[in-house]
Symmetry: C2
Subunit: 218 residues, 2 copies
DNA sequence: AATAAAGTTTAGACTTGTCTAAAAAATTAT
DNA sequence: ATAATTTTTTAGACAAGTCTAAACTTTATT
C-alpha cells in the first residue's frame, strides 16, 4: 500500500519516463512536483526500499516493472475519474484535473472496475490521453502535433499536450474541441503561425497553440 | 480548510452529539475513532483554535454552529457517495462504508452538487440514514426500533442502527431489506425474541436484530 | 471527608513528509 | 586537467498526527 505522497511521486516519474526514456533526475521530479530536490532524494530512498524504483546515487531513477504497473494504475484511475466528471457530472474539460488528482488516490478495486463499466470502458480521457488498461498497458494512437503538419494536410483533433485550464478554455473559445477536423491551409515562416480550416471557418493559430494540439492525420 | 484527520474528528463528535446531546467526552471520541484519549486531547485543542468546537478542560466538547455545519457537510458527502456506489456502481449496502469514508474527504463543491443531481437528490442513504441538505439540515422521519413494536403492530423497514457488514449481510440472508413491510406476530418474554411476518413468510428474529432495525409504523 | 478509581491532560518521543543550508559528486568550461 | 558550475545528497530542523507514561482532575466509594 502506498501513501498519497508516494503515489504522486510514482505518477510523476511515470510521466517523466514516458517522455525522456532515460533515468529521471532528482531535479526533474522536484520540478514536476513543485517540491525541493532534497525532498525527492528522501522519498526516492523509500520508493527504492519498496522496490518500485531502481536507484543509484547521483544516477537518476527508473521505475521497476512493479513501479510502472502501480503508476499506470494511478493514471488509469485519474483518467477514468476525468471521464466520469465530464460524462456524468457535466464538468468541462478544463475543470476536471484538480478533482481527479484527489479521486485517483481512492483505494478500491471494485470501485474502479465498476466505474470503468459505468462509463462504457472508455479508452481516452477528456483531453485525448489514453487510459491504461487493468494491466497498465497503454494503447497509443498515431498522432502528430498540429505544428508538424504541412500545408494542405488535414486530420482530426485527438488530444492536447498542455492541459492547463487557460489553454483548454482558449481552445473552447476558438471552437477547437476533440473530434473536430482541421486542415492546414497556410504556414507563416515569419512567426510559425498557421492558418487552419475548422468547421469550414478559417482560423489563425499561433505556434504555441500548434505545438500543443495533437492531430490524427487522415 | 480542514485536514482529513480534523474532518474525521468533527464527524465523530457530530455523531456522538446526535446521540447524547451533552458535552462529548475525550474517551468517547477516542473510542469512536479507535485512537487514544491523549491524541483526542491534542486534536481538540486544534479544533478549538479553529472555532469549530467549544472546549473546557476536563469538561468535554461541543460543536459550534460552524462545526456542526462543517460536520453535516461531511456526513452529507459520505451518504451521497454511498447512494452513488449502490445506485450507479452496483455495490451492496454492506460494501459501501469503507469507500465512502475515503470519498467523503474529496474537496469540490461542484462535484457534490452534481453528484446530488445525478442521483436525483436522494434524501436517505442505502442504510436509511437521512442525507443532510446543503445547509446541514437533517429531516428525520418518525421511526421506531423493531424491538419497541407491540404484537400486531406493523410497518415498513426504513433503516438500521448497526451498519456493520456482518449485520447487513445477515439481513440480506433473511430477506430483510429497506422498504419491506414487517408485522410483529409474537413476542417472547423469555429471550425478547419476536416472530414477524415478512413477504407473507413467518420469521423469528432475536432481540439483537430487533434492536438494530428501524420501522416506520403504519 | 478521605481515599480509591476513572477519566483527562501534559510531556516527551516517534513517523511521515517537508524544508534550508552545507557537503559531496558530476558536469561543463577554460 | 583543473577550476567553476550545476546537480545531488546529507544533516538537522520543523509541522501534523499519533503514541506511552506520568501527572493531574473529577467522580465514586467507603
Amino acid at each position: 500500500m502506498f501513501s498519497q505522497a508516494e503515489e504522486n511521486y510514482l505518477k510523476a516519474i511515470y510521466h517523466l519516463e514516458s517522455d525522456s526514456k532515460v533515468g529521471i533526475s532528482t531535479n526533474a521530479i522536484a520540478k514536476s512536483l513543485a517540491t525541493k530536490a532534497s525532498s525527492v532524494s528522501d522519498m526516492i530512498k523509500k520508493l527504492s526500499d519498496k522496490e518500485v524504483v531502481l536507484y543509484k546515487k547521483y544516477k537518476g531513477v527508473t521505475l521497476t516493472v512493479l513501479g510502472k504497473k502501480t503508476a499506470a494504475n494511478i493514471v488509469r484511475k485519474h483518467r477514468l475519474w476525468e471521464v466520469f466528471l465530464v460524462e456524468k457530472l457535466n464538468f468541462s474539460w478544463d475543470e476536471v484535473h484538480d478533482v481527479a488528482e484527489q479521486l485517483e488516490h481512492i483505494k478500491s478495486q471494485k470501485l474502479i472496475n465498476q466505474l470503468d463499466a459505468l462509463l462504457g470502458f472508455p479508452t481516452h480521457d477528456p483531453h485525448g490521453d489514453p487510459i491504461p488498461d487493468k494491466d497498465g498497458v497503454v494503447s497509443a494512437i498515431e498522432k502528430s502535433l498540429l505544428s508538424t503538419l504541412k500545408v494542405n494536410e488535414a486530420g482530426v483533433c485527438v488530444g492536447v499536450n498542455d492541459s492547463s485550464s487557460d489553454f483548454l478554455q482558449f481552445l473552447d473559445k476558438k471552437g477547437i474541441t476533440l473530434g473536430k477536423r482541421i486542415k492546414v491551409t497556410e504556414k507563416e515562416d515569419f512567426d510559425d503561425s498557421l492558418s487552419i480550416l475548422i468547421d469550414d471557418k478559417k482560423l489563425s493559430v499561433s505556434n504555441k497553440i500548434a505545438n500543443n494540439l495533437y492531430i490524427k492525420k487522415s
